[in-house]
Symmetry: C2
Subunit: 144 residues, 2 copies
DNA sequence: TAAAAACCAAGTGTTTTACTAGGCTTTTTG
DNA sequence: CAAAAAGCCTAGTAAAACACTTGGTTTTTA
């Protein structure tokens, strides 16, 4: 039961983007890569994918980069994770023909209730919450 | 974010085992395999592993097989899943050196709270709950 | 017009998954 | 006591998923 690094990277990168993004000036992947140590090539791939679900917009050309498409407190962690990883089903059977083997799935109930809890939790945390945490951490680091 | 078939198979097989197990006579993997359509070789591997965590016991020899080590209502789904899959961390970073890259993990909070909810949910369902569901399903199928 | 950025398709090495093969050991029963 | 039926064990393997990388093209701005 794992979230792949894809989702984790997306989340980290967006926290950083949200923090850095000031006055509608886009943040480049090069900069995000430098700060987060995630390879730029991988970020490119990831952001083009994320963009499809509409949580970021891009600006091409020099001085271009990415911007959050919505205020950070309107973007949930769930939004981000599914935008990066696609639907997060717990087991393969849940959403397809993998389960045909058995006409009545004995364990469906389990995956469904666990999945419900996860989505609820992930939807209750917004990107803004994490950005605030990040700001606090930076402040503390300065003082000490 | 997936539970592998390993965990799903374990759960299915144990529901079946719990249902079939009468008066301390062990149930063979051959029989479980036949009924669940899970390959017997795979079940062997799986059950030997599961056995280590003590939720089943085995009996060798002819007429041998497996038995639940505890009453089904004392075994939770969580118990079963970790016995089959090992610790279910949501992201790799959570439990090791994967996260060293960044001295403070921005997203730790997310994985932790989601993980807490999952374990709570999975711990709230017992094997017996699923066995009862199974019995009900069988009854209904008979009537119709 | 050159640099810097996003865009894009395709390739690649590694790891994990899901399973299989083939043999050994223990117990029961005819 | 021998044969059958069960679990026990190690190792191998094909396929998929993962985590990237390569090598370009296009767009924008200074």
């Amino acid at each position: 039961m794992r979230i792949s690094t894809r989702g984790k990277y997306a989340l980290e990168a967006l926290v950083f983007l949200g923090y850095e993004q000031k006055a509608d000036s886009p943040v480049s992947l090069g900069y995000i890569s430098e700060k987060t140590q995630i390879s730029e090539g991988y970020l490119e791939q990831l952001f083009r994918f994320i963009k499809k679900s509409g949580i970021v917009v891009s600006q091409k050309g020099k001085c271009g980069g990415y911007l959050l498409a919505k205020p950070a407190d309107k973007i949930t962690i769930y939004d981000i994770l599914i935008s990066a990883e696609g639907p997060l089903s717990l087991v393969r059977c849940a959403d397809s023909e993998y389960c045909k083997r058995q006409d009545k799935c004995l364990t469906h109930k389990v995956w469904e209730s666990a999945y419900g809890k996860i989505t609820k939790t992930l939807n209750s945390i917004t990107l803004d919450d994490l950005i605030c945490d990040y700001q606090l951490k930076l402040k503390k680091a300065k003082i000490s």
